[in-house]
């Protein structure tokens, strides 16, 4: 990762809303940015193609 780059982004795929919130907060605490959460496989694939997380 370059020094100026944004933190790596991780796409969260989870259909239980509260579990998704926990995952996002844990990832943020570890210094990652997150995308989503996507709650279906189709949404996840569409988001992955549109956003291309690093």
């Amino acid at each position: 990762m370059q020094e100026t780059a944004r933190p790596p982004r991780i796409l969260v795929v989870e259909d239980e809303a509260l579990i998704a919130v926990e995952l996002q907060e844990r990832l943020h605490a570890l210094g990652f940015a997150t995308l989503g959460p996507a709650d279906t496989a189709e949404t996840a694939v569409a988001m992955a193609e549109a956003e291309r997380p690093t």
Binding site: E16, I19, V21, E22, E25, A29
Partner: protein, 344 residues
């Protein structure tokens, strides 16, 4: 007048032959039907006596005919009474081309060039359909049960997330610790249901597989950068019904967590192993958590921890016992439960 009774008997046997509710065929060594009763004509949809003179192969669907003549010759080499095609689903074909499943019993009659084979056939369409319905219904039950365990696991996982989210919203370290302990306990239960719906049979939990995952989960929830502790399970294959597995899971979670928290202070390295004890007592299954840490002594008169209370209460629920041995070389905590609670 000796002929009359014989004639009467002949006609009686002919009537019996025609009245047998199963199809009966007498087949010559050349594979041609010599005799066929009325039920055989009804079953194969031929007007009597049209079956007589046909080859037996013409009653088999064309795609299955190949090789039948070979089977027939092999049977005549060593004829005996037996069901045909044991374990196979045999198919027959009516004159109008409709296929149906049959059970066939065959028996040799006569010897040498006169040898014939007596075949008794029964249409098993209804039984095969009933078996298929039964299989479908079992499959459906299995699927529903898996979905329920999946749902239970998800609900427990949501409770675990609620506890986590609450913990991250307080600055009070004691409150956070309590919430994290609770989260670990709920997760140890969720994992039982997850292991169950992923296993082949829903009747019992693969507890050794559960224990492997629990060790990983407990270790991952205690991330201390300076702590280099290995946590591993060495259980042999062990299956437990879910109402035994859940209390065992909660107990092992306490013992593993306790060892991680207290046996290796200030960056000490070491190993925590989960082992089965099948030798100390023939009636008991021992599940022992052993560490090579500093050993610990609970001070006299100290208040009972919640962890210990859980372990003792759950051990009692399982008709089991709990014991701890500790020395300067480490601590071993053992749960012993009646062997009937688990199978290999």
């Amino acid at each position: 007048m000796p002929e009359l009774p014989i004639l009467m008997r002949m006609s009686l046997y002919e009537r019996i032959f025609d009245s047998i509710p199963d199809a009966v065929l007498v087949v010559g060594g050349n594979g041609l039907v010599r005799e066929a009763n009325r039920q055989a004509h009804t079953m194969f949809a031929y007007p009597p006596p049209a079956l007589v003179g046909l080859t037996i192969e013409s009653l088999i669907p064309a795609r299955l005919r190949g090789g039948h003549a070979g089977h027939r010759h092999a049977y005549l080499e060593s004829p005996r009474l037996r069901p045909m095609g044991a374990g196979l689903e045999l198919r027959a074909e009516r004159s109008d081309g409709v296929e149906f499943p049959v059970d066939v019993m065959i028996s040799p009659m006569g010897a040498g060039t006169d040898a014939v084979v007596l075949c008794v056939l029964r249409d098993v369409t209804a039984r095969v359909a009933a078996e298929a319905r039964l299989r479908d219904s079992l499959q459906e039950k299995d699927t529903l049960l898996r979905e329920i365990h999946h749902r239970v696991k998800n609900n427990l996982a949501v409770i675990s997330s609620l506890l986590y989210l609450q913990a991250t919203r307080t600055d009070d370290q004691d409150v956070r610790n309590v919430l994290h302990d609770s989260q670990r306990r709920v997760r140890s239960m969720a994992l039982v249901h997850e292991t169950l719906y992923q296993s082949e049979s829903l009747a019992a939990v693969d507890f050794d597989r559960y224990a492997d995952e629990l060790c990983r989960q407990v270790l991952a929830s205690h991330v201390h950068p300076d702590q280099k502790v290995v946590v591993e399970s060495r259980l042999p294959p062990l299956r437990m019904p879910v109402d035994t597995a859940v209390p065992c899971a909660l107990i092992l979670n306490e013992l593993l967590t306790n060892a991680l928290k207290h046996a290796f202070p200030s960056g000490r390295t070491g190993t925590i192993t989960l082992e089965a004890d099948l030798t100390s007592c023939p009636e008991a299954l021992g599940l022992c958590v052993r560490d090579d840490g500093i050993g610990s002594v609970v001070p006299e008169g100290a208040p009972q921890s919640l962890g210990l209370l859980l372990v003792q209460s759950l051990a009692r629920q399982l008709d089991g016992t709990f014991s701890v041995e500790t020395s300067a070389h480490g601590t071993t905590a053992c749960l012993r439960i009646p062997r009937r609670h688990a199978t290999a």
